[in-house]
């Protein structure tokens, strides 16, 4: 029961502005392809509340915005993947399918719920080669995009994507990708982060069935020392 008529354009714009503001407030996460797979990294002052997570064998998740909202999406993604893999086969769980499900769900919440989700997520899937690797980005209104070689969400995501477009090559070793990502994030956010403040993980195609692995502090420090 609305007291006044609000044109749909206005309604959508208000909701989008609201969500965009919430997301821009947080810090960014980037996904970069490197020679053995995909690197996901972002500054995260908390060592226990993760922004990155494993979804399935070859699929990882990254979320920015409100923690409780992207955490709900992360858990829902694991449920989706495990249920599908259990019912059919492990190979039938794809990043595209998951990104689509996120897109549908976030889009529905954007138009139907009292408050839209203030989140943006990346679904990364590593393939046997660079051609088979995919990066999907789903925005607060359900808009889904595929990205080539790198993707950025949260904070000043556009500046970050532009910077990575200039500095990043998808066939570099992990150390180089790490350093490129950290340098880009620090430059755009205009502040330096200590090694303990980074949260990073990889989808490494050289690993066994489960390709997801968190990077520890020593690995991040080593990349810093390398430059």
């Amino acid at each position: 029961m609305m007291p006044f008529y609000v044109p749909p354009e206005q309604l959508i714009k208000d909701r989008a502005d609201f969500a965009r503001k919430g997301i821009a407030y947080g810090r960014s996460i980037v996904a970069l392809e490197y020679v053995d797979g995909v690197l996901l990294i972002g500054a995260n002052p908390s060592s226990s509340l993760h922004k990155l997570g494993e979804i399935y064998d070859r699929i990882a998740f990254a979320g920015v915005g409100r923690f409780n909202e992207f955490e709900t999406l992360r858990v829902a993604g694991i449920r989706y993947a495990d249920l599908k893999g259990y019912s059919y086969g492990r190979g039938d769980v794809t990043g595209k399918g998951l990104a689509n499900a996120y897109s549908q769900t976030i889009g529905q919440i954007f138009t139907h719920e009292v408050k839209p989700y203030e989140v943006e997520v990346i679904v990364a899937e590593v393939g046997d080669s660079t051609q088979e690797t995919s990066l999907f980005r789903v925005q607060f209104d359900g808009t889904m995009r595929t990205e080539e070689s790198h993707a950025a969400i949260g904070g000043k995501d556009e500046d970050l994507a532009a910077r990575l477009g200039e500095s990043h090559q998808p066939d570099v070793p992990l150390q180089v990708a790490l350093e490129t990502a950290m340098a880009a994030i620090e430059a755009v956010e205009e502040r330096a982060a200590t090694p303990g403040e980074w949260e990073a993980a990889v989808l490494d195609r050289t690993l066994g069935r489960r390709k997801f692995r968190r990077l520890d502090r020593a690995e991040i420090e080593a990349a810093r020392a390398g430059d």
Binding site: H50, G53, E54, I55, T72, L73, V75, A76, G77, I78, R79, Y80, D82, L83, G85, Y86, S87, N100, A101, Y102, Q104, T105, Q108
Partner: protein, 265 residues
């Protein structure tokens, strides 16, 4: 959560409630494996036979033969009965093969599901308790002659020791000291281990003991298949240690099996 959503939702956004495990997710979708009404006497189903596990100085060895029988027919010659439950535990099955395999798939998915959602692995005891619950849920079928009895072992990352668990059809869970065996040839394997087992043995000796126990079981029990060097059918043998689950290669097993068979009286 009450009932089903009114319209199909691509994702399940329900907040996490205690016990919102993968098994309960399946239950909500009516997808739990079910064999309601099945009775042993109406069917000729494949059954798995001898599986065993024993502790050694680095962790645990688990082994199983490869034969599945249906009545007096050898239904399958190369069945896998020993599986990785997760990176630090292994599970083996005896009993009605089809059901046991489904139960293991559910168990494996549950452990991975928990690990991904919570960000940590279940404790070894937690895993054993969950498996006991799966066996307990299976009880009505056990009364109809379709029993599934697993054997579970793993490396306890807190206690830093290999641990061994056995189960009974009602879901009783028992921690074993040195060795355990189950299945139709289980008694024979166990009496062999009782005579030959010593605590603190190394990996090489533990592997040999496991293969010897299977050979002993196969000699007395027609439903257990011993190593077949000519056809290259080797038992499934795995270890779980501080570095995790590892499968023993067929080549290494062939060497052990040949030595064991030659030494048999």
């Amino acid at each position: 959560m009450s009932g089903r959503p009114t319209e199909p939702q691509p994702l399940h956004l329900e907040p996490i409630v205690p016990m919102a495990s993968f098994a309960s997710l399946l239950e909500r979708h009516d997808m739990l494996p079910s064999w309601e009404g099945a009775r042993r006497q109406d069917l000729e189903v494949s059954e798995g036979t001898t599986v065993l596990a024993l502790r050694y100085n680095e962790g645990v060895v688990m082994a199983g033969d490869r034969r599945a029988t249906a009545g007096n027919v050898i239904a399958h010659k190369r069945v896998q009965k020993v599986f990785a439950a997760d990176a630090y535990s292994a599970v083996a099955i005896s009993g009605t093969a089809g059901m046991a395999v489904e139960l293991i798939k559910l168990f494996q998915t549950e452990l991975e599901h928990y690990e991904k959602i919570e960000g940590t692995r279940l404790s070894l005891e937690g895993k054993a308790n969950f498996l006991a619950r799966l066996v307990r849920n299976h009880l009505p079928l056990a009364f109809q002659g379709l029993a599934v009895v697993p054997l579970f072992c793993g490396y306890d990352e807190v206690k830093e020791a290999g641990m061994l668990y056995t189960f009974d059809v009602v879901g009783g869970r028992y921690e074993e000291e040195d060795y355990a065996a189950t299945g139709s040839g289980g008694a024979e394997a166990k009496s062999f281990l009782k005579a030959s087992y010593r605590s603190g043995i190394g990996e090489e000796e533990a592997l040999r003991l496991a293969v010897e126990a299977l050979v002993a079981a196969a000699e007395e029990d027609t439903a257990t298949g011993g190593p077949d060097v000519r056809r290259g059918i080797m038992p499934n043998v795995v270890t779980v240690t501080a570095t995790g689950f590892a499968e023993i290669s067929e080549e290494r097993l062939a060497t052990i099996a040949t030595a064991v068979l030659e030494a048999r009286p």
